[in-house]
Symmetry: C2
Subunit: 455 residues, 2 copies
Amino acid sequence: MTLTAAPLRLATTQPDFDARFTERLHWSAEQDDAIEGRVRDILADVRARGDAAVLEYTVRFDGLKVDSLSALELNAAELKAAFDALPVEQREALTQAAARIRRYHEWQKTQGGATATYRDEDGTLLGQKITPLDRVGIYVPGGKAAYPSSLLMNAIPAHVAGVQEIIMVVPTPVRGSVATGGTGDATATRGERNELVLAAAHVAGVTRAFTIGGAQAVAALAYGTASVPKVDKITGPGNAYVASAKKRVFGTVGIDMIAGPSEILVLADGSTRPDWVAMDLFSQAEHDELAQSILLCPDAAYIDAVQREINRLLLTLPRAEIIAKSLNGRGALIHTRSMEEACAISNRIAPEHLEVSSSEPHRWEPLLKHAGAIFLGAFTSESLGDYCAGPNHVLPTSGTARFSGPLSVYDFQKRSSLIEVSEQGAQQLGRIASVLAHGEGLQAHAGAAEMRLKR
Amino acid sequence: MTLTAAPLRLATTQPDFDARFTERLHWSAEQDDAIEGRVRDILADVRARGDAAVLEYTVRFDGLKVDSLSALELNAAELKAAFDALPVEQREALTQAAARIRRYHEWQKTQGGATATYRDEDGTLLGQKITPLDRVGIYVPGGKAAYPSSLLMNAIPAHVAGVQEIIMVVPTPVRGSVATGGTGDATATRGERNELVLAAAHVAGVTRAFTIGGAQAVAALAYGTASVPKVDKITGPGNAYVASAKKRVFGTVGIDMIAGPSEILVLADGSTRPDWVAMDLFSQAEHDELAQSILLCPDAAYIDAVQREINRLLLTLPRAEIIAKSLNGRGALIHTRSMEEACAISNRIAPEHLEVSSSEPHRWEPLLKHAGAIFLGAFTSESLGDYCAGPNHVLPTSGTARFSGPLSVYDFQKRSSLIEVSEQGAQQLGRIASVLAHGEGLQAHAGAAEMRLKR
């Protein structure tokens, strides 16, 4: 059977466009009761038994034959050794990407995040104090989805925010273990490590690193154990167990977001080379079969040209099978009446990645309200943003760009309000507070305000 | 039996201080499986059946005998009428509080939240675009905990952020209904409305208002029904059902936070009148029996004086019984070695409200790392902040000030990254991205970067 990739072809003029497009967009993060139940048990167990429970799950799921959690800690020298052992080209790419990511996030810090106050006319001081979190945990997936770029994108903003301790967890399952789909005989004292991930941890300035994963690692970070320090917030992607565990510990610690499948939406006016656009659609589709790649374009002939390039380029790629499944199952090439209509549809989708592949991207950008990241112009492929343009690649998926944004420096800071009411201010404010407190039936609130009034 | 209030008396020099204090602090938001199950069913039902399901639950729980959801919508004229009918003193207090809250949040908006970009040396443009959410839902509790101030604190930041549609839901249960602890015969077409809440909705500029509540109201806002528009984010406090529902729809929509019992921590150097401090401790304790009021002070004689004022003032208050239960069960008066030690203990607690009741509050403020709001000096009673100082009174509880802050304008905005790579920039970035993408096994990512390189 020849491998082909044919995204659903639609036109907004079709009478059934809305229904068919809605159906194609549909993706639901249904909660799996079985996973939820197992995660709840693992969290409770780690909370109760600490290190011993984490160790048992790591032996059972990752197939690691170790007898203490300290054997699962990687020290700074090991991270540095991983970096030093890389080919020079990879060392330089990691270092340059980190420098660009750091520079963007340092700029971002200046755009908000400074402690500031003002005084009103009666001398009352109001404002907010910005401080970094003390300690954060970064989850890094092991196995096939081990992305060193993810580590940079999570750890560098934390570092720039001023977080003092960055604790990384990354599972290193043994081949043949439960975590890798095997039966799980624990025989090795050391699992499969991804050297690029360890090198990235060195570059990003991770404080401590543990080779643990799954719900048990999330629990260790959220509750703390004898070996793993309790953190204030956990960020980073993971599988369904990790996502369920993060959602469950939300409130005990902060979390970043629950990510769905990755998405790209390309708005094209027909001026970009069609092979570039085809490859950009592929670069999202290659993540996994549920990833979604959509092209919106008012030029039907251009859409034909992109489809031809999809056909031509597909088999040049090692991940052609995943790409084909993703494009056939979830992709769409949509002929719109105009670029304006394309922008309106984009707002309805609120895509994670939005490429404005146009010769006049600044004409369309003001029309775009909801997106995780907006890539302007033909040279701005989404993959440049994934690695090294500077802005964060951790972005809201599944339409959550309607209410949230990229991971940022701000996620690793928090605000405290500052209020200093002057004696004079207490007279005016006290009277307002007293009336409203009595209206709410809270007489001690009223009393505290009234006591500060001059007799 | 005479009512007395005796918060636990501790000294940091006691050998068992840590253990006893930790025990007193303990509060756990255990999830109630029965509530979780019922909430899951209600959410699924509203998602499937929309208005009909919301209506059925409102009839069943709130005892309202109505046959369409439109009968549960309050129009702008009704909100205005509620405002117009208030005593002039309450009208003025609401208006002045709203003006002060608006002014603070307008200032806050200038401290972050502006779209900005910069270009690096190769012409690549980077930055972030800030836009308001389109539509938000505000949950306002009905019954005994109906606080108009909460509505101001939720709706005004949304308004200042630029949100176009603010949808309020507030249950108006009939006396004797299930929601008010009765048996639930639906006989009335109209439940108990809190006129101050409706007036506050008028002042705050709410767009639409529905008299629905509970998990069914959260579901209606999260999924949308024929009558209730789907929102992007839901904020506002509620009971255990509302909290569970909000946690469950998190991801479909944004939510603010899951609030625990209210807390106040007073750091006192002994310079504030002890009756003022006693009343400030009461003003948190009167919220509910689980609220926590703690005094930290290096002066034992001053602590004695505060305890005497507690004894003297307690019976002057209508809510004395709740205050006594809260102080006896969860309160603490702690003798510290020094103000420095008191600050360190405060950081460990990360309190929601932190009063620095000192003659030199700016000496201690820099030592305070974690708190929702910091009230400086003797005149700054927490109750002034609750109603009208300006900063938000929706604050992180249960130690979550370690990683989160007050509700803010920023909660009603979101960011999108902006990236425009120049042709020249694509050369440098493309080589870095290509190396890293190949390292991660993502060849289409590499391909998209490589295609933009000059041959």
